[in-house]
Symmetry: C2
């Protein structure tokens, strides 16, 4: 399993950024997203809406105590990657993360909000930077997952599917076979 933990979600400030984090997670092979901060039904619904239409089994779940959550994951043997502009260049560690995944270990990728508690830098197995410049947790997550997992190709039970075209939009409604 590869899961994302989005820290410190705020309404309304992070509504779209957090949604983009979740959808990037889904598109690049993560299994689901946990988030802390403010519980946000609207955020959960927009992600679930995409999953419902475009398929796959991506989950979104709220977690009240994010640090306790990560500690528990570690106890359960999960490998914790914290994406931060202050970390080590991720390109040096992609191989290590891939090996962890290939060994069958689960990975949780922590992406920050505005202020990240110092404990996350301590508890994480790796603090990795997609460049040491301020840019975007969405961009960092996308590039990191793209390198580690690549684009996900299969989305089970999709109702709609986009067929990539040179020009214009082609969307196919998928007919379901009855069991």
């Amino acid at each position: 399993m590869i899961e994302v933990l989005r820290l410190g979600h705020r309404i309304p400030r992070d509504e779209r950024i957090s949604t983009h984090c979740a959808l990037v997670g889904r598109a690049f092979g993560a299994d689901g997203l946990w988030y802390s901060g403010m519980k946000d039904k609207g955020f959960e619904n927009s992600v679930s809406g995409v999953v419902d239409d475009f398929g796959g089994e991506f989950f979104i779940e709220y977690v009240s105590d994010d640090l306790k959550f990560v500690k528990k994951k570690k106890e359960e043997g999960w490998f914790v990657v914290h994406l931060t502009m202050y970390g080590v260049g991720f390109e040096k560690k992609v191989g290590e993360v891939k090996k962890v995944i290939d060994s069958g270990r689960d990975v949780v990728i922590v992406v920050g909000g505005e202020k990240v508690e110092p404990e996350f830098y301590e508890i994480s197995d790796l603090n990795l930077a997609v460049g040491n410049q301020p840019h975007s947790e969405v961009g960092a997550l996308a590039v990191f997952l793209y390198e580690v997992c690549g684009l996900r190709k299969e989305f089970k039970d999709a109702k709609v599917r986009v067929v990539g075209s040179e020009r214009g939009k082609r969307v196919v409604r998928v007919e379901r076979m009855r069991d």
Copy 2:
């Protein structure tokens, strides 16, 4: 030159997403960002603030008529890449875009807002998808630029610089030499 055009910026809805687009552009080697939609001094200031502190020569400029702007770029010989979930898989075209850049041609990368006028699909040299799933213009731009340009390493005249660390944060204030 590699520039980004962000279509249809809206206040307050797109404030953070557009800022992330600009900062991703800067971090992954673009020279600047144009945006259409609503003129937004706050957006411009947050991007300029980052450039001022972290260096480089990234510009941000408003353009009132985005379609006319792209037509003019084309007349001037620019190559136009439109990133859209409806496009052809970008991974098939990275080589072509790199060749265009190596030949010395300038490239403008168009990233959509909520609604993209059909003309952009027609006028663009390539309509490319970073996956045909709905996710994020920030994520798509990051992955596309990462593949085409890689991470930018040099930022001229930076006042502050982050030194990537295994744990914690290390920020260095850069002393300028007098001329």
